[in-house]
C-alpha cells in the first residue's frame, strides 16, 4: 500500500514538475515571440551576449569532443565492417550516427554542463541575494528579463552547434578513413555526404531545438525555485544538470521513436 502511495506521489510530483517546465517555457516563448508585437522590446543585447556564452565559447571544447567521438565511431564500426570486408562503409556509419544521434546529443550534454548549470547557478544566486525580488518590485518580470534572452539564445545556438558538431565528427571519422581505410580526404567527405539524406540532418536539428528549450527550462526553473541559502544554490545546480540530462535523453527517445514511425510510412 505504502509502495503504491509512494509511486503515485512520485508520478504526480513528476507531472507537476513537467507542468512547471512547460509553463515556464510557454511564458518565455510568449515574451520572445508575442511580446515584441505588444510594444515590449526584445532584449537583443542580452540575447547576443548569452548566445556568445552558450554558443561561441563552447566551440573549442565541442570541436575537440565531437572530433574524438567521430574517430571513436569510425574505429568501432570498422571493427565490425572489416570482418565483412566493407570497411569503405565507415564513412556512412559515422555520418549517419553523428547527424541523427550523436551530434545533437553530445552537443546537448556539453551545453548542459556549460550553460544549463550556469543558468541555474546564476538565477539561484540572484534569488538568494533578493535580486529576483528586486526585479519584481521594479515591475520587471523575472522571466522576461532573465529567461527570455537565454531561451532565445539557446534555440538559436543549439542547432548551429549541432551542425558544427556533425562536421567535426565527420572530420574525426575522416582521420581514420584516410589513415586506415585507404580513403582520400575528398572521397571520404563525398562518401559521407552521399550516405546522408536531408532527413537525417533535419531530424537531428529539430531534436536540438527541443533540447535547447528543455535545458533552458530546467536550468531556469531550478534557479527560480531554489530555497534560501548558499548550499541550495549548489543543490539547484546539480539538480539542473541531472534533470536536464535525463529529460534530454527522454525527449531524444520520444522524438527518435516518432521519426522512426514517420519515416516507415
Amino acid at each position: 500500500m505504502e509502495l503504491a502511495e509512494q509511486i503515485g506521489g512520485s508520478v504526480t510530483d513528476g507531472l507537476a514538475y513537467l507542468g512547471a517546465l512547460v509553463s515556464l517555457g510557454a511564458r518565455a516563448a510568449y515574451f520572445t515571440f508575442v511580446g515584441p508585437f505588444r510594444g515590449k522590446h526584445l532584449r537583443v543585447h542580452q540575447t547576443v551576449s548569452q548566445a556568445m556564452q552558450v554558443g561561441v565559447r563552447a566551440l573549442p571544447i565541442l570541436s575537440l569532443i565531437t572530433f574524438f567521438i567521430g574517430l571513436i565511431m569510425a574505429l568501432q564500426s570498422a571493427y565490425e565492417l572489416r570482418r565483412l570486408g566493407a570497411i569503405s562503409f565507415v564513412a556512412n556509419a559515422v555520418a549517419i550516427s553523428m547527424t541523427r544521434e550523436l551530434g545533437p546529443l553530445i552537443t546537448a550534454i556539453i551545453v548542459i554542463g556549460r550553460s544549463g548549470s550556469a543558468f541555474a547557478a546564476e538565477i539561484a544566486t540572484m534569488k538568494v541575494t533578493e535580486e529576483i525580488d528586486a526585479l519584481e518590485t521594479m515591475a520587471i518580470h523575472p522571466v522576461d528579463f532573465l529567461v527570455t534572452p537565454k531561451f532565445l539564445a539557446m534555440i538559436m545556438m543549439l542547432p548551429c552547434l549541432t551542425i558544427w558538431a556533425n562536421t567535426m565528427g565527420i572530420l574525426g571519422g575522416a582521420l581514420f578513413g584516410v589513415t586506415q581505410a585507404d580513403f582520400f580526404f575528398g572521397r571520404y567527405i563525398r562518401a559521407s555526404l552521399d550516405a546522408l539524406y536531408l532527413r537525417d540532418i533535419v531530424t537531428g536539428l529539430i531534436k536540438s531545438v527541443v533540447f535547447g528549450m528543455t535545458i533552458t527550462a530546467v536550468g531556469c526553473h531550478e534557479g527560480l525555485t531554489t530555497g534560501a541559502g548558499a548550499e541550495q544554490v549548489g543543490r539547484s545546480t546539480t539538480r539542473a544538470v541531472v534533470v536536464s540530462i535525463f529529460l534530454v535523453i527522454l525527449v531524444d527517445l520520444v522524438f527518435t521513436t516518432l521519426f522512426f514511425f514517420i519515416s516507415e510510412r
Partner: protein, 285 residues
C-alpha cells in the same frame, strides 16, 4: 467597509492595511494587522527577529500574497486591480533591500538606470544625467562604472537607495537599512534617509530593529510582536508607553527564562507556537 470611509482614507493615507493576514504554508505569520501610513511621513516598523516585520514589508511591496485582509496603496486596493495596474503602482514605489540586491553582473550606473531603461523612452544621454544625479544624491558621484562587488557595504546600500529612487517614487521602503553596517556607516544611512525626507517629502516605510536609528528617523512607529501589533504611535508616545512588551523591547530586557518545572512542561506540550517562532527566525523572516 463603508464606501464613505474609503474616500476619507484615500485623501490622507498613502498606504492603509485592513485586517491583513499572511501565511507561510499552513502557518499564519501576520494575524490581522491594520494601520495607515500618511503622505509624507516616515513610519518605522519595529520588531524582534521572527516578529513578522520583514514579511509585512514584503507583503506591502507585493512579494507575498495576503491570505485575507486588504492593502490599499494610493487609494487602490491591491487585491482588486490587475497585474498591469499593480505594475503601475510598483513603478511609483522604491524598495531598498537588506543586502542591497544590486545586480552583480551590471555596473552601479546600469543598476540605477535599469528601471529607467525598462519603463521610460528617455534618450540614453538623459538617462545618464539622471543616473549621475541620483548617485550624487546618495553621495556616490563618480561611481557609475564600478561593479557592486567593488563597493563597501555602506556604499552598496547607498547605491541600492539610488536605484530605488531612480523612478522618483512617492513611497520608499527600506528593509533593515543599517543591518550589517558599522555604527558610523549606519548613522550615515540614517542621515541619508532624513535628507531624502526633507528634500523630497517622500512617504518612507522603514523596517528595523535598531532602536537608535528608529528614534532618529521616525515620525511614527509600529511595534510588531509575533505577528500582532503591540503598539503604534509617535516617538514620544512610544518612549513613554507603559505597555509591558513595549517597555521590554525598548529597555532591551531579555525573555524571562522558564524556571518552573510546570511551565517548562507546558512550554514543551503547548501547540507549536514556540517552534513556529524558531522556524520563522531560521527563515530570516
Amino acid at each position: 467597509m463603508e464606501p464613505m470611509e474609503d474616500t476619507i482614507l484615500q485623501d490622507e493615507a498613502m498606504i492603509s492595511l485592513r485586517g491583513l493576514r499572511v501565511n507561510y504554508g499552513e502557518r499564519e505569520i501576520l494575524h490581522g494587522l491594520s494601520f495607515e501610513v500618511m503622505r509624507g511621513e516616515t513610519l518605522v516598523i519595529l520588531g524582534g527577529s521572527g516578529s513578522g516585520k520583514s514579511t509585512l514589508l514584503r507583503t506591502l511591496v507585493g512579494l507575498e500574497q495576503p491570505a485575507s485582509g486588504e492593502i490599499w496603496i494610493k487609494g487602490q486596493n491591491l487585491a482588486a486591480i490587475s497585474e498591469a495596474q499593480k505594475n503601475e503602482i510598483r513603478k511609483r514605489i522604491g524598495m531598498s533591500f537588506q543586502g542591497g540586491a544590486l545586480f552583480g553582473s551590471m555596473t552601479v550606473g546600469e543598476n540605477v538606470s535599469l528601471p529607467l531603461r525598462e519603463h521610460t523612452k528617455l534618450e540614453s544621454s538623459t538617462i545618464e544625467i539622471m543616473v549621475r544625479l541620483k548617485l550624487d544624491q546618495v553621495g556616490l558621484a563618480g561611481f557609475e562604472n564600478y561593479m557592486p562587488s567593488q563597493l563597501s557595504g555602506g556604499m552598496k546600500k547607498r547605491a541600492a537607495v539610488a536605484r530605488a529612487m531612480s523612478m522618483d517614487p512617492e513611497i520608499l521602503f527600506f528593509d533593515e537599512p543599517s543591518a550589517g553596517l558599522d555604527p558610523i556607516i549606519a548613522a550615515g544611512v540614517d542621515e541619508l534617509i532624513l535628507e531624502l525626507k526633507k528634500a523630497f517629502h517622500m512617504t518612507i516605510v522603514v523596517v528595523t530593529h535598531e532602536l537608535a536609528s528608529a528614534f532618529l528617523i521616525a515620525d511614527r512607529m509600529v511595534l510588531i510582536d509575533k505577528g500582532y501589533i503591540v503598539a503604534i504611535g509617535s516617538k514620544e508616545e512610544m518612549r513613554t508607553s507603559t505597555h509591558p512588551r513595549v517597555r521590554q523591547f525598548f529597555d532591551r530586557v531579555p525573555e524571562p527564562e522558564v524556571s518552573q518545572e510546570a511551565d517548562y512542561l507546558q512550554m514543551l506540550t503547548e501547540d507549536n507556537r514556540r517552534t513556529g517562532n524558531l522556524l520563522t527566525e531560521k527563515r530570516g523572516v
